[in-house]
Symmetry: C2
Subunit: 217 residues, 2 copies
């Protein structure tokens, strides 16, 4: 028998505002924190207090995906976290390629935060001949010409770019041509990509630069 709660209404991706999708990982995070603290049920009020947002926004955000709470009680922390992970596709494992094996690339390759969240870097590339063939952790650095082959045979949808700014757009173009659909860009540039490809920048300098506006008195 299929109950209200069990039913997985297929989510119409286009109906969900992007800002809402951006906040989902945040909810997953904070639910994890509450779970670690042994809290099993939580209200939108409490979540809002922790995240410094209004309870209404949290409830509205969640309502795009289903009905996860119980009136008079709140949300089951573990269940809500699991549902959100599933909605985000975090119950799958995602293979990624890493391009650029300089200082930054090696730091990213050895970052221990990806694996426990289901992201695995399965191949590494560099344009520098001298690096090709070297072993970095469990990865052997490949030459860029092997990229399309690797992406398609290993079903890779994610590319991570850690090359110098001057090469980043070219590398991103290569990733796109190879069929990658999501790019995590560490290079300090504003890249151009086709509309069906997503880019997220990881850029500590830009993050600082937007805060200084509020710091100058």
């Amino acid at each position: 028998m299929v109950t209200q709660e069990d039913r997985h209404e297929p989510i119409d991706v286009a109906m969900v505002p992007e800002v809402v999708v951006q906040r989902l990982p945040l909810y997953v995070r904070v639910l994890g924190q509450f779970a670690s603290a042994g809290i099993e049920v939580i209200s939108s009020e409490q979540l809002g207090a922790q995240l410094q947002m209004t309870p209404a926004q949290i409830r509205k955000d969640l309502s795009y995906f289903g009905r996860f709470g119980k009136q008079g009680r709140g949300y089951d922390v573990g269940n809500l976290a699991a549902r959100l992970r599933s909605i985000l596709g975090l119950d799958e494992r995602w293979n990624a390629v890493l391009i650029g094996m300089g200082r930054l690339g090696r730091a990213v390759a050895s970052y221990p935060g990806f694996e426990p969240e289901g992201f695995r870097i399965v191949a590494a590339f560099d344009a520098d001949e001298r690096l090709v063939g070297h072993q970095v952790g469990s990865l052997r650095v490949q030459q860029l010409s092997e990229l399309p082959e690797t992406v398609s045979t290993r079903d890779i949808k994610i590319g991570i770019v850690t090359v110098p700014a001057a090469y980043a757009q070219d590398v991103i173009n290569e990733l796109v041509r190879s069929g990658v659909k999501a790019i995590l860009n560490y290079a300090p540039i504003a890249p151009s990509v086709p509309p069906d490809v997503r880019v997220q920048g990881v850029d500590p300098v830009m993050a600082l630069q937007s805060m200084t506006f509020y710091l100058k008195d």
Copy 2:
């Protein structure tokens, strides 16, 4: 004589939407790219094409801060970049403290991207006694108890947090108590801070997690 262009209308910070402030560093970036390419004048149309946004949005964003363009011509790349840098406070130098000198902290300490943009890490801290006193680049690792003193004597408004998730909220509380007003948080948590303190997270995992929503077919 004070012309229209020279006049620095004092910007009412509260009047500027936050989204606009977030985009300013992006404009600075892309203007830099155009400058490097030897381009001296640029239209909102061209800027919009590069950034994949509408020309109207760029013009509207800039209009919050002044009138920087010339009708029929466009914007002087160098001048606009300089004006935006000044608006963001990027013509000042900003001192920052770094807390957490483990693997990630050392990588951040040696990241060469901060200095050329006016951000300088002037002090480093770690709770681990065994690290205190060690030299990391030009920084001597200090014990956390010296944080308030260092923040106030060296006029530090920015804190960079690279401690493990479990300690991050405590460290952020310490930074806030010491008087830091902007925090760059590398820890995978959603921290709470008072409303007069800004936080920006640098979180590659969350960036990936919001893209997978669109990847699952």
